[in-house]
């Protein structure tokens, strides 16, 4: 296993994630909190985020499918999603929550449904990319290497 090659891939993937706006400086804050005492901190928090987000997406789906949509409730879910996205530095996902809240305020169901699709899409993209990153990390560590300092 060429650990050096994996490390280079990791650097490229991480750089791309920041460059394309999937992640922002807040993610770096998360990375900086990882240390020997908590070597899996980033994965731990991101996993919490995945679980929490999927619960919220489920709740959103249910709320938007109601006969009489409760926009305040929908807005509350979006607010939570936006908050936790921002906390882990999920830049694009945080941003798509903003127009979503706007549609809730206007009680615009069509707009909400459109935004919901966008949110699901961004979430999927982010999850795939981060899982790819974590997969690389596992291989690097398994190969005896360490994660490069960004």
């Amino acid at each position: 296993m060429d650990v050096g090659k994996l490390q280079r891939q990791w650097v490229d993937l991480t750089s791309a994630l920041f460059r394309e706006g999937f992640l922002d400086g807040q993610f770096t804050q998360l990375q900086q909190l990882q240390d020997e005492n908590n070597p899996d901190f980033v994965v731990e928090v991101v996993t919490l985020f995945f679980d929490d987000s999927e619960r919220l997406l489920n709740d959103l789906c249910n709320a938007l499918n109601h006969q009489l949509v409760d926009f305040k409730k929908v807005d509350a879910f979006v607010h939570q999603l936006k908050g936790s996205s921002a906390s882990i530095g999920a830049h694009r996902l945080t941003n798509v929550c903003i127009p979503f809240r706007g549609c809730c305020e206007q009680r615009n169901l069509e707009g909400c449904l459109r935004c919901f699709q966008q949110v699901k899409q961004e979430y999927s993209l982010l999850k795939n990319k981060l899982q790819g990153l974590f997969g690389l990390e596992r291989q690097i560590v398994a190969g005896g290497g360490s994660l490069p300092m960004m």
């Binding site: 706006g21 731990e44 928090v45 908050g83 921002a86 882990i88 530095g89």
Partner: protein, 199 residues
């Protein structure tokens, strides 16, 4: 390049993390620059109660606080927080619990929470004689000046905009110290609208 502009924009937005009250213009940085000689980290073993309904934010906050050597207890809402604080003992003992593990030196709470907002939690705490001296810091992801002003006027030591960063946590030490050294009490901070970066 786009990433750089985005992060710059985020930095500028983050620098608006304090609310301005016209009476005092104390420079937080210089007031807190002298570090406590005996504490290894900023926290020096002080105990913080962190209240937030978001599991992600709770974990994040807990780690940042522990990194600064605070002891941390988390609660997921106002009710749980009050229950925990209720364990600190009755009116006579107050917050001068002999069990130092339980004594709380600072409360940091999210504003938007189900059931009871962080503001309401703070008001309740201020009504309890043995708890009202504990400094309270309120956080929110929403930058609403009237909300911020109300929290500060009604007793919050600081209002922080989320997402919280390590630099924000480092500042908390000043609020806890102000209990021990009342003359160093910080009352307000200037909004910095320029893109001065945080250390």
């Amino acid at each position: 390049m786009a990433g750089d502009l985005d992060s710059m924009a985020t930095e500028m937005e983050k620098s608006r993390s304090h609310f301005f009250s016209p009476l005092f213009h104390l420079d937080m940085a210089s007031s807190c620059s002298g570090s406590h000689p005996n504490a290894e980290g900023d926290g020096g073993g002080l105990h913080v109660l962190a209240v937030d309904d978001s599991v992600v934010d709770r974990r994040f906050l807990e780690k940042m606080l522990k990194q600064s050597e605070y002891k941390v207890t988390t609660a997921e809402n106002g009710l749980r927080a009050l229950e925990y604080l209720g364990l600190l003992g009755g009116a006579e003992e107050g917050n001068n619990c002999n069990d130092s593990d339980l004594k709380i030196n600072l409360i940091i709470t999210d504003y938007c929470m189900p059931g009871m907002t962080g503001y309401e939690l703070m008001k309740k705490i201020k009504e309890i004689s043995h708890l009202k001296e504990i400094p309270v810091v309120i956080m929110s992801s929403e930058n609403i000046p009237t909300r911020i002003e109300k929290c500060l006027e009604d007793g919050a030591k600081e209002f922080m905009l989320k997402p919280i960063r390590q630099a924000d946590v480092k500042r908390l030490k000043c609020h806890v110290q102000s209990l021990k050294h009342p003359n160093h009490g910080m009352l307000s901070w200037k909004i910095s609208v320029d893109s001065k970066s945080e250390t």
